[in-house]
């Protein structure tokens, strides 16, 4: 029918890959974090998240891959930093040297995402094609003035064209 999509997160020194069901930021380098028991102190940052998409199924070409934050207001001094099409590095909770720009909040300014092999198009069945997008690095950063309590829910959107 068409390609199916799964979100994958890589963690730890060994680039351990997990299929994720949420994108909770936290003070531990784990996927699918339980927020209630893993809070981020004001003025500190989450561990970086290295996420990518894996397409399975059949298609002819996947192109025009985009990523942006489509909903979710920030609290005071809170932001999500990002970088697209980066290599995996062991995630850190200090200010990211990889994710350094604010995540776009409109489709028009969305990050353009490449394939893991560095191409703008993922051609089905082509030699060496893994079906993965390239990595997107994200980090939630706070300030000392960030209000206590749960952050607002943020929604990240990934879109792609498919033939």
């Amino acid at each position: 029918m068409s390609a199916s999509l799964a979100w994958k997160e890589s963690d730890l020194v060994g680039e351990v890959v997990t299929t994720i069901t949420n994108l909770n930021f936290g003070p531990i380098d784990d996927p699918n974090i339980v927020v209630a028991s893993n809070t981020i102190k004001a003025g500190e940052h989450s561990y970086e998240k290295y996420i990518r998409v894996l397409f399975t199924g059949t298609w002819t070409e996947i192109s025009n891959m985009k990523f942006w934050k489509s909903a979710g207001a920030y609290k005071t001094a809170e932001t999500v930093k990002t970088a697209a099409n980066v290599n995996f590095a062991t995630p850190v909770a200090t200010a990211s040297a990889v994710a350094t720009v604010n995540v776009p909040t409109t489709e028009g300014t969305a990050l353009a995402i490449n394939s893991y092999e560095g191409a703008a198009v993922i051609t089905y069945g082509a030699p060496g094609v893994s079906g993965y997008s390239d990595y997107i690095c994200l980090q939630l950063q706070t300030g000392i003035t960030t209000e206590a309590g749960l952050a607002n829910v943020k929604v990240f959107t990934f879109s792609w064209d498919e033939q």
Partner: protein, 131 residues
């Protein structure tokens, strides 16, 4: 369940390629791409009977067999077809939210200028035009 569209391509030879043949086997769009120069008609349709078709010879676009775009003096008509998908990810879930199909063509006018006519239809059968 998304309201899925399936495509059908008709070639100069009269051959018809359905995305799903009578045995249920799926054909990839690449088969159409490989025969672009022989393509005369391409349409998408859903189970609710909605059809959007592109006549690559006359330059007409049809909605349920009615002409909805016709501009004479077109040459070098080239099919555009793709589906655009949106998936969301938040702290609760991963969700494939929306699929929209795009169909239309590019063409050259009398002055050899390139134009694009593109219609979209979503899973609620809402149609948009993008020029």
């Amino acid at each position: 369940m998304l309201n899925q569209f399936k495509w059908q391509a008709q070639l100069k030879t009269g051959q018809i390629i359905n995305q799903f043949d009578i045995e249920g086997k799926e054909h990839q769009f690449k088969e159409v791409q490989d025969k672009f120069n022989d393509l005369v008609y391409f349409k998408i349709m859903n189970e609710q009977g909605i059809k959007i078709g592109v006549n690559l010879t006359s330059g007409e676009i049809h909605l349920n067999d009615q002409v909805i775009f016709d501009n004479s003096k077109k040459t070098n008509i080239r099919l555009i077809y793709f589906s655009r998908h949106i998936a969301e990810l938040n702290e609760f879930k991963v969700e494939k939210k929306e699929t929209k199909n795009f169909i239309g063509f590019q063409y050259l006018d009398q002055d050899n200028r390139n134009h694009k006519v593109l219609f979209s239809i979503n899973s609620n059968n809402q149609i948009g035009i993008h020029e």
